[in-house]
């Protein structure tokens, strides 16, 4: 009886999950499998020739331009992740520990609003803020603090990192906030009672317990930023491409779909490997019982 009940429940569950699951299979899995298979095919004139080859991967892995762009994308993403998570942690900590419970959701709402407003225009406005005659430079020259506009914030990797760190801020704050919320407050009191000072309690109790949130934040910022297309295009002026721009050029401008596919697959693989490595390095924190 119990078994039959289970089966009926499982069947109902499957029936319900079927429509979204089939949709995701058709619109996400099938296309990804298609580019995976394209990446092993040969590029012909105006069409893809059905001939198995590893040349695309050979080209991707040996081309110095691809290597430069891939390394740059990884570095930018890593920097963005570091900056975003480090800057976000105190904010999450403040909202979780210092804000009165009934006002927490208002704070979270305030933090998420900028995230939902026109991404393109936000990115463009960073260009305006950081630009040669931008807000920062014109105010600093106007105040007489500097004579020449600052160039280190202009159309370069720094400005890309800053813009992306701004764009992905809520992605970092929310997971850390959730992890902090789960921490049993009596553990902190216990730490204090046992003679630890504030800093040590934070270091030995709060931070380890918050690590699952920090790890989630790292991944959730790192993975999408590496594929960002708009920011390098607008802020970098198209001169500092990241991997997404390279994929787009191969796929559309040069119409070499097998090579573009191999690039996309390689990028996904690199992201997956880096993410898994990161998870493996931090696995002791994920075992923490909450």
């Amino acid at each position: 009886m119990a078994k039959r009940g289970m089966d009926a429940e499982a069947r109902q569950g499957f029936t319900l999950i079927a429509p979204p699951f089939i949709y995701a299979l058709a619109i996400l899995a099938a296309p990804i499998l298609t580019i995976l298979s394209y990446s092993f095919l040969t590029d012909g004139y105006l069409e893809v020739v059905r001939e198995f080859t590893l040349d695309n991967y050979r080209q991707v892995w040996t081309d110095p331009i691809v290597r430069t762009v891939m390394l740059r994308s990884l570095m930018v993403s890593a920097l963005v992740t570091l900056v975003t998570v480090v800057l976000a942690f105190p904010v999450a900590y403040y909202v979780s520990f210092m804000v009165r419970p009934e006002r927490k959701s208002m704070w979270l709402f305030l933090i998420t609003i900028p995230f939902w407003t026109s991404y393109l225009i936000r990115v463009f406005l960073w260009k305006v803020i950081l630009g040669y005659n931008g807000v920062i430079n014109s105010s600093l020259t106007g105040l007489g603090i500097i004579d020449e506009p600052l160039t280190f914030i202009l159309y370069n990797v720094n400005s890309i990192v800053l813009t992306l760190a701004h764009a992905y801020a809520p992605f970092a704050i929310l997971p850390i906030f959730v992890a902090l919320e789960k921490i049993d407050r009596s553990l902190l009191e216990a730490g204090r009672d046992l003679g630890e000072n504030r800093l040590m309690t934070f270091w030995r109790v709060t931070l380890p317990l918050a690590m699952p949130g920090v790890i989630a934040a790292v991944l959730i910022v790192f993975i999408p930023t590496i594929g960002d297309y708009v920011t390098p295009e607008l802020i970098g002026g198209g001169k500092i491409p990241m991997i997404a721009n390279l994929i787009q050029v191969q796929m559309l401008a040069l119409d070499n779909r097998p090579l573009g596919s191999a690039l996309a697959v390689t990028a996904m693989l690199v992201v997956a490997v880096v993410s898994l490595l990161f998870l493996a390095l931090n696995r002791r924190f994920l075992k923490v019982k909450q």
């Binding site: 979204p20 949709y23 403040y94 225009i121 406005l125 014109s138 999408p224 997404a244």
Partner: protein, 273 residues
């Protein structure tokens, strides 16, 4: 205690500063939208509403707006419908492979959009489909779905199961119990999911850029105009309108989300994501 208060003060100041950083671009937007100077830089010249007038008279922009609204409405309805199925399945039923299936459906939330857009484009071109706003709707439904599921799962999870069972005992069928009991209780979650999906779709650029063919949407129109310095003030005006619209939609969404939690008697644990 005074040390604690001091520490709290420091953190508070930092958080407020951080909020200022988050809001900096949005605060600048209306300044430039109402500025009569044609160059987006300080000092500001004077007050004008010309850019809004210019925006109103722009035919391409109006076409982009119609397209964007059509796409956002269709995608949000579709994503929310799929979301209801998934949220109901994941919160109410146990079945083998559930974690994997749910994880896969939620994948577009973290997958770089360029991958989604490019792979879908390759398939669509491969089968000879014509790019139009329909293809954008297909893509947007996929990326809005996880957000809808996240919101709806909270709504469904805090649902008291005994209410439905009581309805069965009183002679309701599965479907009528769902319609009469469950649906009204999760309605705030549904509205919230519709609004969030609408906002995401309205603002989405990458998929629209690659899958819309020659049809403009608001973000792709904005992107095409950012190259022309002359058009920038008008784009700032458009941005101001869009930001205001997003904030209104989000505020309504947030209101319904909270009301939903209050209705079920749950504790508010956080924001949208």
């Amino acid at each position: 205690m005074s040390a604690g208060r001091f520490q709290g003060g420091g953190l508070r100041a930092y958080t407020l500063f951080y909020l200022l950083f988050l809001y900096a671009p949005i605060l600048l937007l209306p300044l430039f939208a109402f500025n009569s100077g044609t160059i987006i830089a300080f000092p500001l010249k004077g007050f004008t509403t010309d850019w809004f007038v210019q925006m109103w008279g722009n035919a391409t922009l109006r076409r982009a707006l119609t397209n964007s609204l059509t796409i956002a409405m269709s995608a949000s309805v579709l994503a929310t419908c799929f979301g209801i199925f998934a949220a109901r399945a994941s919160t109410r039923f146990e079945f083998p492979g559930k974690t994997g299936i749910m994880g896969f459906i939620m994948l577009p939330m973290v997958l770089p959009e360029i991958i989604v857009a490019m792979s879908l484009l390759v398939v669509l071109l491969g089968v000879g489909a014509e790019l139009s706003i329909l293809t954008v709707i297909i893509g947007h439904t996929l990326i809005c779905m996880p957000y809808g599921i996240a919101i709806l799962s909270t709504a469904f999870a805090s649902l008291d199961r005994s209410l439905e069972e009581a309805a069965y005992d009183l002679g309701e069928t599965k479907w009528s119990a769902f319609r009469l009991i469950t649906l009204p209780l999760v309605m705030p979650g549904i509205i919230s999911s519709l609004l969030i999906s609408f906002t995401i779709s309205l603002d989405e650029f990458i998929i629209a850029f690659f899958l819309a063919g020659n049809e403009p949407t608001l973000p792709t129109y904005i992107f095409s105009q950012l190259r022309f310095p002359k058009q920038i003030p008008m784009i700032m005006a458009l941005g101001t309108v869009l930001v205001a619209l997003s904030i209104i939609l989000l505020a309504i969404g947030e209101y319904f989300r909270r009301r939903g939690i209050a209705r079920i008697g749950g504790k508010d644990s956080g924001g949208f994501l």
